[in-house]
């Protein structure tokens, strides 16, 4: 969740209670040690491995047809999943934060459900629902529609896994903002869509954007669920992470890490965008 700015503290300047310098140094040192072993070394490793056979090989690995097909499939998935889940997130957040109704807490819990489900199970449920061995799936097959082991399967599994991201960003944000502005607009004669477009949307745009970015990041990187429903057909149902896995299991480490480096780059970008948006958010809310 994006951090929301805290109200300004009292004007009196107070000395912040702090720990003795040696304690500070020791604790910072320990933290750094953790970051080095768990964050920096793995990141460094990706690039070291990716370039272990030189630039040429790196470029070749990410430009070979199977890799490009994987990128294409992943982008297609993102292009379908993110708008759908964003639309849902906004709708659900509107329903939950602008109205009082019984069962609100239960609904909120249900929204978080996919977070508690193992990615493998997320894949499994769609195999059970529309796999070729199920009644519904075989009926679909007779109509010439194939879902599992093809792109639609990857899309719905990803839809499930990234389902809560946008709603989760927006609900606390809209709860904090309350209904006053919308109700004021109502008394001034605005209609439903006008209120939403002119009042609500501008207020939540950064949260919405961040939710969509999280949703894209997870869509790009989802492995377990997609792995179950994809069938691993090269050039057809391989997303980027699956491609990385195949290369890795063929002991083609340099190529595997080369493709993985794209994902690392996207992850770093996501983290960077989050920081930027948080600052933007803070700046914006000072105008309120």
């Amino acid at each position: 969740m994006l951090k929301q700015p805290t109200p300004e503290s009292a004007p009196i300047i107070k000395k912040r209670i702090s720990d003795p310098l040696p304690v500070q140094m020791a604790l910072i040192g320990l933290t750094l040690l953790f970051f080095i072993t768990f964050i920096f070394l793995p990141l460094g490793l990706v690039f070291a491995q990716a370039f272990s056979k030189g630039w040429e090989y790196y470029l070749e690995s990410i430009r070979e047809p199977y890799a490009l097909e994987a990128v294409k499939l992943t982008l297609t998935t993102v292009a379908i999943v993110v708008p759908l889940n964003a639309l849902f997130g906004v709708t659900a957040a509107w329903a939950i934060t602008k109205f009082n109704f019984r069962g609100k807490a239960a609904l909120k819990t249900l929204l978080d459900l996919p977070f508690a489900v193992s990615p493998v199970i997320a894949g499994l449920i769609f195999v059970l629902l529309v796999g070729s061995r199920t009644p519904f799936g075989s009926w679909l097959g007779e109509q010439g529609i194939k879902i599992i082991f093809s792109t639609p399967g990857i899309v719905i599994a990803t839809l499930f896994v990234t389902f809560p991201f946008v709603a989760r960003e927006l609900i606390p944000l809209m709860e904090a903002q309350g209904r006053d502005e919308e109700e004021a607009a109502l008394t001034l004669g605005a209609r439903g869509w006008q209120i939403f477009g002119k009042i609500t949307l501008p207020n939540i745009r950064w949260g919405l954007l961040y939710g969509m970015i999280l949703c894209s990041a997870r869509s790009i990187g989802e492995f377990g669920a997609v792995s179950v429903v994809s069938g691993h057909i090269r050039g057809q149902t391989n997303t980027i992470p699956l491609h990385v896995e195949i290369l890795y299991s063929e002991y083609n480490f340099a190529a595997s890490f080369s493709v993985a480096s794209i994902l690392v780059f996207l992850a770093l970008l996501t983290v960077g965008v989050k920081v930027t948006l948080e600052k933007q958010f803070q700046k914006n809310s000072f105008h309120h």
Partner: protein, 277 residues
């Protein structure tokens, strides 16, 4: 929509539309597919179900997933608290950089994390080499699984503690000081109890995530039956054999564990809020 209509009349427009769409989408994407687990397990009957989920290999996988996730969650609780403390309380060069990188495990695809740790800790890897000298095997062992899960669960703990720690009023600590408490006493008797619910929440989230985690684990685990086979992998291998009922049975137990964890957590949080807020 009668069911959801509250006592207070709602003033803003769009309740029916937004609620209708929410419930429809939620059912189509989440509820109906998830219910398949039950519909595929129920026809099995009780005996075969028990037989499937108590088979030694399956039990071993539950035990492994549960224990590795627990160890990782405990480690995350400690490191997460440390990191949150350092990030909130101290000012040093690179602090914001570290703060931003806390989210990396959220953003990094799990498969990439998996191959990174597998390579890093392989006997010829940067860190594995050193451990190999001491005869500590990390790859293909539960230790390796714990390492991967620590990485995955870390941000949950930091991000739940951070806001709570930021909101601790300075007066609370000053009051303790004026009453003669040392820094350590203040931390142990005042701050730690204050942070405890967040700490519990964060590590439970890390734990729940760890039980179901797949991508980052399979590369480092080695997947040896009875030894390093995690529960999600059991589901995977049953699926590969087209044993749909068996896969759902294993999944059902795993789901029930994670759900009850989260329900328990919710209950604890509610109780905490009633008591102290």
């Amino acid at each position: 929509m009668e069911l959801f209509q509250g006592k207070r009349r709602n003033i803003l427009p769009g309740f029916g539309l937004s609620m209708g769409y929410t419930v429809f989408y939620l059912s189509a994407i989440v509820i109906v597919p998830l219910s398949m687990i039950f519909f595929n397990t129920i026809p099995m009957g009780w005996e075969p179900f028990l037989h499937t989920v108590t088979a030694p290999r399956v039990l071993a996988s539950y035990r492994l997933s549960f224990s590795t996730a627990l160890f990782a969650a405990i480690f995350d609780a400690i490191v997460g608290l440390l990191t949150a403390w350092v990030l909130v309380r101290y000012r040093f060069a690179g602090r914001q950089f570290l703060d931003a990188l806390v989210d990396l495990p959220f953003a990094l695809p799990t498969a990439v994390a998996g191959i990174c740790f597998a390579t890093l800790y392989s006997p010829v890897g940067w860190l594995g080499e050193t451990f190999a000298k001491w005869n500590i095997e990390i790859i293909n062992s539960p230790t390796g699984i714990v390492v991967a899960l620590i990485f995955i669960g870390f941000p949950f703990v930091v991000r739940t503690i951070q806001p709570v720690l930021e909101e601790v009023e300075q007066e609370i600590e000053e009051a303790a000081q004026c009453l003669g408490a040392t820094r350590w006493q203040t931390f142990r008797k005042i701050l730690l109890p204050h942070l405890f619910p967040a700490l519990l929440t964060g590590s439970t989230l890390a734990f729940a995530r760890g039980i179901g985690e797949y991508g980052s684990v399979i590369f480092i685990a080695g997947n040896l039956p009875m030894k390093t086979e995690i529960a999600p992998l059991m589901i995977m291998s049953k699926l590969d054999q087209f044993d749909y009922a068996g896969a759902s049975a294993v999944a059902l137990v795993l789901l029930l564990i994670s759900f009850s964890m989260l329900l328990l957590l919710n209950a604890v949080q509610e109780w905490q809020q009633k008591e102290y807020r």
